[in-house]
């Protein structure tokens, strides 16, 4: 294998604080591919919740911090499509009236990859040696699928997991109703959308639902748990780390 | 009012700050691609004609257009007569038919068919407008309007028929009344096979660039009709005959060998 550059982890805040196992799994997958991993531990949230709620000044502060911290990294990898979308697409917008910062934002954005995107598009690694003998269904998160155009990549990775049965759910690419603060502010609407997603998941008979964005998965898990459904929620990194 | 209205727009567009209108807004010459489309139409081979015909046969079904193919005027006239005999009027009981005063429709000589005797066929009147000072008596217009309202079948031709979408292009001209294709319950359109185009793009390219078409322009009313009137407004269930014709019969007259 040719030289693979070291990667720097950009860990979504909810993975950092609520689902650290997901990041551990990602590290395992990367290290099993002989990739050197580093992680600046002073990182915090990328500012997406503030940005989506319209608080651009607040988001800008987070963006500045992020750029300062990650600017020197060679490759930045995140297990979250929506955070990568924030960095790649919204950071440059935030600095529309500051060309100097905008240049830096664009540079950082260009080397920031979503986890599965990096594995498949850059490393051309579709088979990472995983084995997972369960029935799984895949939720295609909106920001990942529509804004980053990443859909083929996670599906390619899933298709190479040994002994796993992948069952396609109805409308896999339809929103789960998460939308960040939307889920809290407009919980009625959010839950009505989520209910449809959960029904579609249950319909597959899968034992596990997976995806590339812990925000959506946390949302889905929340309702599955409330209705005592036995379907487990796992980030794709966790499946890929299974041996 | 127009001036202040437009000047508000100019201001919004920053015209005073030097933003200039684009210079290529109105095309004055066909693009290379459009030239190809034009030659394609002019030099259509019989194989291409046949391909258009088969395309039309495919799309008419799903669009609820009744396609009739005949190879002569006589046959076509007979078939239309049979249709007039077979169908019953939607409003009232008397059968009236109205039609365009159009060379092709005139050649059908429907009025002389014995089987249609007793069924009034109203022809769109053509008014003499050479004398501008003498306006058309509105009573004549009203009379024809009443006849159209009475008619259960309206017979028109069309300038073109687009095979890919079963679209008929009808322009308003003297003798070619708009309401004949609209008010009666059944619209019968008679078109010569050579008026077939393959796509909407061809139609628009002709309307835009063909010298004769350019000269006439779109007229004050051009209607593109693709299928009978339909609605899905009640529970998305498709129903034909919302306001316009419930049925559309398209007669294509092939070239006589």
């Amino acid at each position: 294998m040719k030289h693979t550059p070291p990667v720097t982890l950009f860990v979504q805040c909810i993975i950092d604080t609520i689902y650290p196992d997901v990041a551990e799994a990602m590290v395992k997958v990367l290290e099993d591919l002989n990739i050197q991993v580093s992680c600046p531990t002073s990182q915090t949230c990328c500012g997406q919740p503030a940005f989506n709620s319209g608080h651009r000044q607040v988001a800008k502060a987070a963006a500045c911090k992020f750029i300062d911290l990650f600017e020197e990294a060679e490759i930045i990898i995140s297990p979250s499509g929506s955070c990568v979308n924030m960095v790649r697409h919204h950071y440059p917008e935030l600095f529309a009236d500051d060309p100097e910062m905008q240049k830096r934002a664009i540079k950082v954005g260009a080397k920031t990859y979503e986890f599965t995107q990096y594995l498949v598009d850059v490393l051309q690694a579709e088979d990472v040696g995983a084995r997972f003998a369960r029935k799984v269904t895949y939720h295609a998160s909106c920001h990942l699928n529509r804004f980053l155009g990443v859909d083929r990549q996670p599906r390619a990775l899933l298709s190479h997991i040994r002994e796993m049965e992948l069952i396609e759910m109805k409308d896999a690419d339809r929103c789960c109703g998460f939308g960040g603060t939307f889920a809290v502010k407009y919980s009625d609407i959010s839950e009505a959308i989520l209910k449809e997603k959960v029904d579609n998941i249950l319909q597959t008979g899968a034992e596990v639902v997976t995806g590339c964005d812990m925000g959506c998965l946390m949302n889905i898990q929340g309702m599955l748990s409330r209705i005592n459904a036995s379907v487990e929620v796992k980030h794709i990194a966790q499946l890929l780390a299974e041996r | 009012m127009q001036q202040t209205f437009i000047s508000t727009i100019k201001q919004a567009l920053g015209r005073s700050q030097g933003s200039k209108p684009a210079e290529d807004l109105f095309t004055t010459e066909p693009s290379e691609h459009e030239k190809i489309v034009l030659t394609q139409i002019q030099q259509r081979t019989s194989a291409q004609h046949n391909a258009n015909m088969s395309r039309l046969r495919e799309v008419t079904g799903p669009l609820y257009v009744n396609l009739h193919e005949h190879s002569s005027l006589e046959e076509t006239a007979e078939a239309i007569a049979a249709l007039i005999k077979e169908k019953s009027p939607e409003w009232g009981t008397e059968k009236h038919v109205c039609r365009w005063d159009h060379p092709l429709i005139n050649q059908l000589k429907l009025e002389s068919l014995p089987e249609l005797s007793g069924i009034p066929i109203h022809t769109t009147p053509i008014f003499d407008v050479t004398d501008q000072a003498r306006p058309i008596p509105s009573s004549q217009k009203e009379q024809f309007r009443a006849q159209v309202e009475q008619s259960f079948i309206g017979i028109t031709s069309a300038d073109y028929c687009v095979a890919a979408t079963a679209t008929l292009a009808l322009r308003s001209r003297p003798g070619q009344s708009r309401s004949v294709s609209l008010v009666p319950s059944i619209h019968v359109a008679v078109v010569k096979e050579k008026k077939l185009l393959s796509t909407l793009e061809e139609l628009y390219t002709l309307l835009k660039w063909d010298p004769a078409e350019r000269k006439e322009g779109l007229t004050n009313n051009l209607s593109l009709i693709s299928g009978p009137s339909k609605t899905g407004d009640i529970e998305l269930i498709m129903v034909h005959g919302a306001h316009g014709p419930r049925e559309l019969h398209l007669f294509i007259i092939g070239e006589e060998q």
């Binding site: 993975i15 607040v58 529509r146 | 919004a12 684009a22 209607s223 014709p245």
Partner: protein
Amino acid sequence: MAGIDSEKYKQNAHKAIADPVLQSALTSLQGRLGPATKKLYNTLPEGQELRKIAHQYRRKAIDNLDVLLETLAENIRSHGGQVHFAPSAEDAVEICVRIALENHVRTVVKGKSMVTEEIGLNDGLEQAGIEVTETDLGEYIIQLAGERPTHIVAPAIHKTREQIGELFTEKLGTPYTDDPPTLTQDARRALREKFLTADMGISGCNLACAETGHITTVSNEGNIRMATTLPKLHVAVMGMERIVANLEEQQAILRLMSMGAASQQIGGYVSYVGGPAAPGHSDGPEQFHLIIVDNGRSKILADETFREMLCCIRCGACLNICPVYGKIGGHSYGSAYSGPVGAVVTPLLFGINDASDLCSGESLCGACRQACPLEINLPRMLLALRSKLSEGDPSWQVKPARNQERWLFRCWQFVNGNRTLYNLFYAVARKAQKILPTQDGMIRKLPYPFNGWTSQRNMQPLAPKTFMQRWQEKQEGKK
């Protein structure tokens, strides 16, 4: 001006979600139209690329609106038509009422038109003693029921055939039936009377063509052709942005519009109207008037952030895919414009503060942009509207709203800016979460202001250690 009623977004949404009839109507609508439109885009002979090209056509038209509108007006006048310019909704209504009164109009038949809903034209005409009949079947149904449209293209989609049957029996005196063909026939009969006797026909304009000087209307029912052919007067009302420069551009956009609106290659009836009946023609109206309406559009035009919105052709494709619209239906938006397009256009036309929930009540999933035949970037504009709401913008007369939220985010900014503080915050939160009620290890009830999350959802509690802590410990262990 016709008002909006967008302040009750949440309450109306709540009601809509609890209405099983509406829910099944919305599911069926989205199940049919959404995927069908998507499939059609794949059949474009020019490929999906045409959508980007058509967007450019629209954008170019908007960027040259001054030239195009003047050209259109000149050409229509040369065909014998009359052109009026209306800066505001009130002006537009006044012009239309004046034309009607001058010509002793007592009855009007109308084709479906969004801009006339926006400006409240029917109310204006009725106040002048003129009877107005909506003739699009869906619009007719809701006019009889005294309701607002719930969908741009399928306005009565929220009503069941049984409800329509009862409505017709009550208002038209027809025998009760729930058979859609029979109901359609009942309406056909009632409306035929209106068409044949009306003094004036009113239509909108889907897309005018400047170089030829025509407005274009599209319908499947044929009602617009009836309304614009049979009465002696035809008045068309168009939003000033509904125009393109030339025929070739218009052709591409009309096809895409038909795909977006009704999953068709081309609308059943596409009519070009350039003026009144020409001399020697046996029918058609004696007068043709075109009213071009601004009503807030020039303000959108002036703002680079929102100018893209003027490219919209109101096809409704974004409604047929939007997960939020799919649950709350059109009435929740409290405006003639609902769904994703309404969420952007209503605040811009009627006031951002007044329609603040419309800007914020979406999940930003991006499906609308993907479904839009012109790929209009609605999510981008929703985000821009939110920033105006959160931070205020005098140029749009927006007062910063949501002060409490702003304050929370400021605190958050402070904590988020420093990892030590961040760790401290989470350490406290981890302790605090212990007092929350749980279900199998998941939090069942979150405190205000996060309580919305847990009305039908649980929440995974914070982990004992953050990943960063674990990573640090691991690194130290390695040493």
